[in-house]
Point group: C2
Chain length 138, copies 2
């Protein structure tokens, strides 16, 4: 098994709220939208971020996903500058994100802050000046 | 905020078990490993999959992640053929994956099966003949 991720799928409780946040709020353009079922966005050259209504997940994976609290995952959106971090956190706040934190200098050398999407999935908005952090920039 | 994911971070309870599965089991090569803290793998040209020990997440995000059951996320590993799906599911089983399901034809037109990593994160191993599915292949 090669070390490759093709799709990141987040299971959501209200796909309409997801659409409102990412499309209307952040201005993202869907690659696919099947109303009530799935909403996909290209987030890297060969990686798609997919939001999947819970019923589809339960039917295919065979388990109800754990709900409540903060999911054990973050997605990060990295930027070339610390100003960019502040700007994107403000964009997220305007788009309706919740739990929008102020960015801080981190012990690992970067500058980052978090926000939550409608299902509580945490996004990290980060400037990471290290080698790996730089390697993921566009 | 551009539609871009730089890091996918999964919060784990035992980073040693994570390392044993992905490095010893699947043969993946870390991009960074800070024992007891973080283990990173390149999974796309500009995307890194990071496993983060829970204490770091709690300190930085400010919440304990929800635990128990099946996390509301899947990562997919897509392949050009259905035989490839069967092969990778068997590789995962040999590597120590749990809940390894047999692949099936899916209503959405593909062929896929799931396995769980040491923290219960579900990987989908998939052949997706549709346009988006083909676009994520190497």
């Amino acid at each position: 098994m090669d070390q490759r991720v093709s799709f990141i799928t987040l299971v959501v409780t209200d796909l309409g709220a997801t659409r409102d946040f990412y499309v209307d709020g952040l201005g993202w353009e869907p690659e696919l939208h099947v109303v009530g079922e799935v909403l996909m966005f290209r987030v890297a050259e060969k990686v798609v971020l997919s939001f999947w209504a819970e019923a589809g997940f339960v039917a295919e994976v065979g388990h109800a996903p754990t709900r409540g609290g903060v999911p054990p995952i973050t997605l990060s959106h990295n930027l070339a500058t610390t100003d960019g971090v502040d700007t994107v956190l403000e964009q997220a706040r305007v788009a309706g994100a919740t739990d929008v934190g102020a960015a801080e200098q981190r012990a690992w050398g970067g500058y980052s802050g978090y926000f939550a999407d409608p299902d509580g999935f945490r996004w990290e908005v980060a400037h990471n000046p290290g080698e790996i952090g730089q390697s993921v920039l566009p």
